[in-house]
């Protein structure tokens, strides 16, 4: 079983790295978080922007959590990883090679979780570089120690977990465009709305976005969980999506 899954993980990596999708997503994630890092550094301490000043601990936490903006790219990476099999109908040869479909989905989850680690490290490195270099040019750089380092690590972890959530979501929805649109609408419309409406903001802390915010706890947020609770909840979402996706993929007919 273990060697079979290891083989399937390698097959998934071959699939991922023999098209150019991964380059686009990686560049997109780096540019996105790098640009946010530059903006936040540029306007730190600016009265109108409301951002904390460069030398404040709030700014440091904020700057090192910027990589979480790339979670949207993580979700898309995971979604594409599984829905391309249905979109290009390669689910047929894939499940012919491995009729135990559960193994295929487990291999995908593992393959994408593992790929997400260097991806998260790179995105975090780009963010930190921009913050340090640009901050230095503006006269102050936050220290990469203690609590700041923790925030950075959790931002990286979030990138990995969101990739796993993406794989699970893709397995659930099967339709590539539909799944990506659903993810974007949820992340950029539904969650911000729930967060800002007083009646629903209490529930927000239980959502993936709320859990993510709790792990990297920036500033002026609504009621959130403790950091460790946020981490567990986020992992829980990843596992639930993975489990549901696996069950569905195993049961559905491939026509």
């Amino acid at each position: 079983m273990a060697t079979v899954v290891a083989r399937l993980v390698r097959a998934e990596w071959t699939k991922l790295f023999t098209t150019r999708v991964w380059i686009g997503l990686l560049l997109g994630a780096c540019v996105l978080s790098g640009a946010f890092a530059a903006l936040f550094t540029a306007f730190a301490g600016d009265q109108e922007s409301g951002l904390p000043p460069l030398d404040s601990p709030e700014y440091a936490r904020l700057a090192f959590s910027i990589a979480t903006n790339a979670t949207v790219i993580s979700v898309v990476l995971g979604i594409i990883g599984i829905t391309q099999e249905y979109r290009h109908r390669t689910a047929t040869p894939t499940f012919l090679a491995t009729p135990q479909r559960g193994r295929v989905v487990i291999a995908k989850l593992l393959a994408y979780a593992l790929v997400a680690i260097p991806y998260a490290v790179l995105v975090c490195a780009v963010t930190v570089s921009v913050v340090l270099v640009y901050g230095n040019a503006r006269g102050n750089t936050p220290e990469l120690t203690g609590e700041n380092l923790e925030v950075l690590a959790f931002a990286g972890l979030a990138l990995v977990v969101y990739t796993v959530i993406g794989v699970g979501l893709g397995a659930l929805l099967k339709n590539q465009v539909g799944a990506i649109v659903a993810a974007l609408v949820y992340l950029y419309v539904v969650e911000p709305l729930l967060r800002s409406i007083p009646a629903t903001s209490g529930a927000y802390k239980w959502l993936p976005g709320g859990a993510l915010e709790a792990t990297t706890a920036t500033f002026q947020g609504p009621d959130l969980l403790e950091q460790w609770q946020g981490v567990l909840l986020l992992l829980g979402y990843g596992l639930t999506a993975a489990l549901l996706g696996t069950l569905l993929a195993v049961r559905r007919d491939v026509v």
Binding site: T14, T94, A97, T98
Partner: protein
């Protein structure tokens, strides 16, 4: 395959279908579009769960086979990522089944795609896509091959190549080959045995010779003395009718070309043309499939009645 049944909504796509495929032969799986061929093959390979029935390969269900790609090779559709090269596509499945990646190059050579392996599969012609599908099936050097409409989209040269290739795999290498088609001519050229399905049910099964016997087909004969010839040929078990489009032509069923020629020669009648019009199998197939070209599957209620 034993008692396979599958209902989609109200349509009974496959209805209690059972048949056996033997090694060392090419078995044609023949039926009009919508007869349930693809559904049957997908059920056999564990991609669709049948309502009832099982399919086994040497006594084992597909999902129960250790290393299924090394025992059964299947081409169900030309499925690949358009941006991935043919060689990389094959390497994916080498990795997934634990085969050495050089198998990818070997099967590319085998199907005549050696030089195109590095190109993006999205740019392949229909015929090249069929060859890539065949290459995927051959990766594990399987003893059993299951091919769904592999001749679709092939040019005449490609079809010629495919026929020879399938016969070579079965006769020279002793593999079991099951190939589906909605075209009788295709099956007649390739297969040793035929399984004919219509509306999800088994219609006929047997060797080509068995199916041909008992129905000689129709013969077209042309003669300036067509009236005299018609009288000469009429006997029990034969029909003779003037051919609509040819003024001095007769369409004869129930007699072979040999027999007609012999009788005409004995009767001193001059012949201008004598040829087989339709083979016996063609007649059978037309009768079986008349009026059910498309949407051939019966409704489930009717099927159950």
């Amino acid at each position: 395959m034993n008692g396979l049944t599958k209902t989609f909504g109200k349509v009974r796509a496959v209805d209690d279908l059972s048949f056996t495929v033997e090694p060392g032969q090419v078995t044609g799986f023949l039926g009009p579009n919508g007869a349930g061929k693809t559904t049957t093959l997908r059920m056999a390979l564990g991609l669709i769960t049948p309502d009832t029935g099982t399919t086994t390969f040497n006594g084992v269900r597909y999902a129960g086979l250790p290393e299924p790609m090394r025992q059964v090779g299947a081409v169900l559709e030309t499925a690949f990522h358009p941006a991935r090269s043919g060689r990389d596509h094959l390497r994916v499945y080498c990795r997934a089944t634990g085969l050495p990646v050089r198998r990818a190059d070997e099967v590319l050579e085998q199907v005549g795609l050696g030089t195109a392996g590095g190109r993006r599969a999205g740019g392949y012609s229909l015929g090249m896509r069929q060859r890539l599908g065949l290459a995927t099936a051959l990766l594990g050097d399987p003893a059993v091959l299951v091919l769904d409409e592999p001749a679709n989209g092939l040019d005449p040269e490609g079809i010629q190549w495919l026929r020879g290739f399938l016969r070579h795999l079965a006769h020279a290498q002793g593999r079991t080959v099951l190939v589906s088609s909605h075209l009788l001519a295709e099956v007649e050229q390739t297969a040793d045995r035929v399984v004919i399905v219509g509306a999800g049910k088994l219609v006929r099964e047997g060797t080509l010779a068995e199916l041909r016997s008992g129905n000689a087909g129709s013969v077209l004969v042309r003669s300036p003395q067509s009236t005299a010839l018609a009288d000469l040929l009429r006997s029990t078990g034969t029909t003779v009718a003037p051919t609509d489009t040819i003024p001095d032509g007769l369409t004869v069923t129930g007699l072979s070309t040999d027999e007609i020629g012999r009788r005409a020669f004995a009767g001193g009648i001059e012949l201008h043309e004598l040829r087989s019009h339709t083979s016996g199998l063609e007649e059978i197939y037309f009768q079986l499939t008349a009026g059910q070209e498309q949407y051939a599957a019966a409704h489930a209620e009717q099927g159950a009645a």
